[in-house]
Symmetry: D2
């Protein structure tokens, strides 16, 4: 069980982390300050200039699409190797897109790669891999408990060579971006089979008539413009039947194929954020004084720093093990490891970030530090791609099955 980093990936880690530190982070402040108070769902010329410039540089250096681990179209590295790169990218808000490794596009490209017909691949995967368009994944619905995806009920009715969609989706991340051209939509297509065969995944061009973006969902009061987490209504939205992936009833199969990589990529980046927060905490505790001593010498601060270090290392190792399982075992076997890291990584990174905020004092929650924004983003991960409780339930059931032949 080689958890790396491999010799092959070491120079890539250096290239990626140097580009982030020296070329990307210096432009982040300007990029995000550009979002206008009105007309938030646009990118300004300067934003496009920054972003496309960085993307072109990354592409030139062949630092591009690392995430596509097991495809001939892909970079050819393993998930374990990717983990080291994604951790670095996590430290910057802009970096994942610069290297075309950002959510939700990687997950969506994964779906096109694995499940789409050649024409759909040609139409959508090619420009996505090139970074020319963006995409969104429409799963969660406002009216049902979506943590149990069998509850999803957006209607999708066959009508000749078309399907007609009606219903509402929300938390469509990235759908605010003007470059977002295509949606993957989980819909209900009832069959007489089991409860995990009642749904399908269908490709919907964002500009299809009947699609209305109702509003941005706010995350702790922020709309995350221009990315956005949109609430979208479908009214008699008509798409070609050939846009349905695999077959009717295969929605869960497609979703699982997407969610495994999507989940672990979030975790990899969260570990990078935790490392950044611990560094911030240490620096502050060395440079401030109170009660006649350096901050790090006061109270429980040594213990806090030590526990953060320990939790980061444990999370990283678990993430690498889950990645290794994805590379070396079946998707079903790997899933339970992905669930484990999905519970651990956001919680750990939230804790480290919270401790860092506390160590910095009020500065820690202000615009003078990155910690508050980071905390908010991390908090969403305890829901995204399944809430903690659902993952714990999966882990427990797998554990119990080791001790019984009965159905758990």
């Amino acid at each position: 069980m080689d958890l790396g980093p491999s010799e092959r990936v070491k120079p890539l880690i250096d290239q990626v982390s140097q580009m982030i530190e020296q070329e990307i982070i210096p432009l982040e402040g300007e990029y995000f300050s550009e979002v206008p108070k009105d007309g938030r769902w646009t990118l300004t010329n300067r934003q496009l200039e920054i972003l496309e410039g960085l993307k072109a540089t990354a592409k030139d250096r062949q630092l591009w699409n690392f995430w596509l681990t097991d495809s001939e179209r892909g970079y050819g590295i393993t998930t374990v190797e990717y983990a080291y790169l994604a951790e670095e990218m996590g430290k910057s808000r802009l970096a994942p897109e610069v290297f075309n490794c950002n959510a939700p596009d990687t997950g969506n490209m994964e779906v096109f790669e694995r499940y789409a017909s050649p024409p759909l691949k040609e139409k959508w995967l090619t420009p996505l891999l090139a970074g020319h368009i963006r995409s969104a994944y429409l799963m969660t619905e406002p009216d049902v408990g979506s943590s149990d995806a069998t509850n999803l009920r957006m209607s999708c009715i066959r009508d000749g060579d078309y399907y007609i969609l009606n219903g509402e989706k929300w938390w469509a991340s990235g759908a605010g971006d003007p470059r977002c051209a295509v949606y993957l939509v989980m819909v209900r297509t009832p069959t007489d089979k089991g409860k995990h065969r009642q749904h399908s995944m269908i490709v919907v061009p964002a500009d299809t008539p009947g699609v209305t973006v109702l509003r941005p969902m706010e995350v702790f009061g922020h709309d995350d413009a221009p990315h956005g987490h949109m609430h979208i209504r479908f009214e008699n939205v008509k798409v070609p039947a050939s846009n349905l992936l695999l077959e009717e009833g295969a929605g869960f199969e497609v979703a699982q194929g997407r969610l495994g990589p999507g989940r672990i990529h979030h975790c990899m980046r969260a570990i990078g954020l935790a490392e950044a927060a611990l560094a911030t905490m240490c620096e502050r505790s060395l440079s401030r004084e109170a009660f006649g001593r350096s901050l790090h010498q006061l109270g429980a601060n040594h213990d806090i720093i030590a526990e953060c270090r320990i939790e980061i290392e444990q999370a990283r190792l678990l993430c690498l093990k889950a990645a290794w399982m994805m590379d070396n075992a079946s998707a079903k076997e790997a899933a339970i490891w992905i669930s484990q890291i999905k519970v651990v990584a956001p919680r750990m990174a939230l804790k480290v970030t919270d401790e860092a905020m506390q160590m910095l004092g009020a500065k820690g929650i202000s615009q003078d530090a990155n910690l508050a924004h980071q905390w908010i983003n991390l908090r969403t991960l305890r829901f995204a791609d399944g809430p903690d409780a659902v993952h714990r339930r999966q882990i427990a059931r797998a554990e119990l099955r080791k001790h019984t032949s009965e159905r758990i």
Copy 2:
């Protein structure tokens, strides 16, 4: 040790809670949506209409200035009795000001009441008690570890009948409000006495020349306009020597007199927020279904609800005990109880709010619930009026002193 509620306060609790539920909360959405994208440090006519209308109603009903517990100017209720009212007020963002019981004004009025000369009282306390002006408290400085207040170093030099102030303060909450007319400022006035005799408290009219509001500090990305937490520069700010409270070197004495009530009022309101979050959590867990069962029947949800209930009750009782000590023991004895509840209440309310967010799913962190805003506000309380670690240190030292005659 009667922790109430007394017969006297019971009808007041009813009046306050009914007014909040029926008259204040219904206007909150409109009030806060009124804050303009530009010109944020103003109150619109509609905002003033709402706020002053509600204040007039409260004053008419003699639901006003409850917090002033031990003064002939005050309402004549005990701190224990006030705890029950403040808890109710905590459930609404607007309510504390409607009843003229909002931070930081109550603490500042407490200072004027206890330590100010009759002319200063006449000039500032009278309009504050009437709700005609607002005030700010300027303690924390950007350049020093302010959790140890002996570090504070804003310069204040005697010049004839005046003092000249130079330096910077930040996190001056309420100083963004256009009605904020006066600051209480902690300044350094070196003496040859001990380290707690090196500072003074001085009254500075907000419009004094040389005072510049540099920027609003953001709390998790929010500027809290029009209230605001301002970063303020003092350049040769000249105020009459009679504006200095008590005497040179009495700054810590004044600050302690202010901070005790200020701290516990925050805690009382935090308990109200926690109750609101638990109610939200229960309602959601009863109304949603997943995996074929009502949400409350799933996983650890019963345990989560039970632990929240337990923590709220424990915090409330500790808060009432601290309030009782304020009413019945010396300030020094009460201080250690205030420190205890100051550690407990924000942490408890944060936990309950976080669990509620998780129970609601992504809705819980969106604009469709109050929880995200509530969480952010509560998070600031782990710094405000002293970080947790400083309070724990005080509690521990008091505990150790029971077992030794040595200086701890």
Copy 3:
């Protein structure tokens, strides 16, 4: 809501705590070292001399049977007042029995007092109140999940004027004591009513033929001789029908009447243990040095001490509130408060004791400190009278009922 201590109970607290400190604790070491390696289920003459001597002293001083709060036979104090006394008694292993306030006898006497016929009272309650005999409570069974008491299945069949009992009970605390003369036994007596009407409580003299003590149950390897937690078999045990309390099917009613007081008494004593552990921790942290500093100045020790103080105060207040509810509200209303403190007090006291052990180093878990024994005893309370999870379930259901009219 007066949570005391009342003027009436203050001198009693002094008398009780002084007698414990000066007269009881000095004899404890000798008392427990007297337990012979063989013949453990006897009391030696010296043990009886110590115990009966102390009991006689307590009785003489009218420090006796405080627990019986709401009976004319009782002491006439409230449950709130008793809480202060029981906390003191908790600090000594021998003290509760010295004052005739020990488990399980107080709970059993409560049952006789409330539910027994005059002849049964005369035969058993009178000598129990006098401290002449001891008793045991037989509830839990080895073969069923007894945390759900509806699972209990000891058979009890009417046979003319008698009942015939068959089955096994274990964890019959106190049944090892040679003075234990009577058992209260929960038995199954099926009816056609609901699941909480299938059981009865019956009085069984310990010397009834067919009763066999199989073995002592060990608690972390200790048999707690001569008290003991016995595993007992019933084979055709024949008792008069008049020994059945109230009526067939009333077992749960009787059990609930017993368990409320029993549970809270354990909690009161646990708080006393926690106080003792915190004192031990503080003394050690003041008297030891490492790395050139006093132990209390190192690492997180201030924080640990502060958190222990906070948790103790919160638990004590919650315990007093639960006691106040027992004095002032219905049994049903009080039950949910008892469940809360039943979850909190053992957990809190375990944590404080564990922290104290850690502060003492290896001495803390050795015979040179009381902490290890204390920890073990406290650990049993997370099962005794219902495991934590069952109490949390009750608390959650009560909370949810506030928000729905449906059956929860």
Copy 4:
């Protein structure tokens, strides 16, 4: 970073785990029940027969001395490989000694191997490696805060070709065993060098005149006979000067060489215990019913099981990483990883064991389960070889050093 298990070690894991399950565990009950109530510091003939029989079998099968990883005398496996074997051995109380891999002998043999002269090796290491004698390590002293080993003060004065030792040591684990023939003793030998050059390590035959075993230290009331944790007095104990290892002042160097492996071996075994506890918990939760459902379906039990699985996996990975550092990096670099797992593994295993006890109900803390004994043994590991707080301090200082060139 290959964290295994290697192909080479896989068959060894199978052999070791099968022998434990099929040959060792079946004899454990008899072995430990043999300890006589009097004369506890002997091994009965039957005990010797069991133990030496199993050892002979293990030796025959070349399942012996795995722990000696980097010596030509050793087994030739890596520390990573050994981790997998030690985890299995941890599941049985007798297994470590059967494979001659038990504490404290492995640590002591490590010292002889690395630091002893050829004659000392011949005299003590040879019979230790053969399993013919046992040894003890005497570090901790009753009168000083031994977590800071610079406090140790057993006197050791040169007298010609001899040293004369005076003082007391306690918690000499294994010194109760009648086969324990030799002690490694940390003594104070003052020099004019730094504080870590004031001590030495010296070899003392157990039968040297002046050595008196005062008493066994009890662990939660147990003396762990015949192994024992002895309190030993040295009165003018005279040993040849050549028994001092390396040189005067090298005590810390020797101790560190010993403690690294000793610490991680404890952790490896603790992980095995945690796995056993989780299995017990799962089996119980599948086989018991309450409230009409299988125990595992109730309350937070799925969450508890999942969190235990997660914590075990994280601890195992961290342990393997620390082992890998021992194999691949300097002792100094590895030390910080050993400190991390030393904090994590006992805490994790205690938690899992505690949850298992709770899931089993009162049975879980009785003689009918192994959990109580296991919990007690694990609790000692939070002190053994350095308390948690000291390890956290080391970890924090290493972390801070990454951010400053100043001395931390």
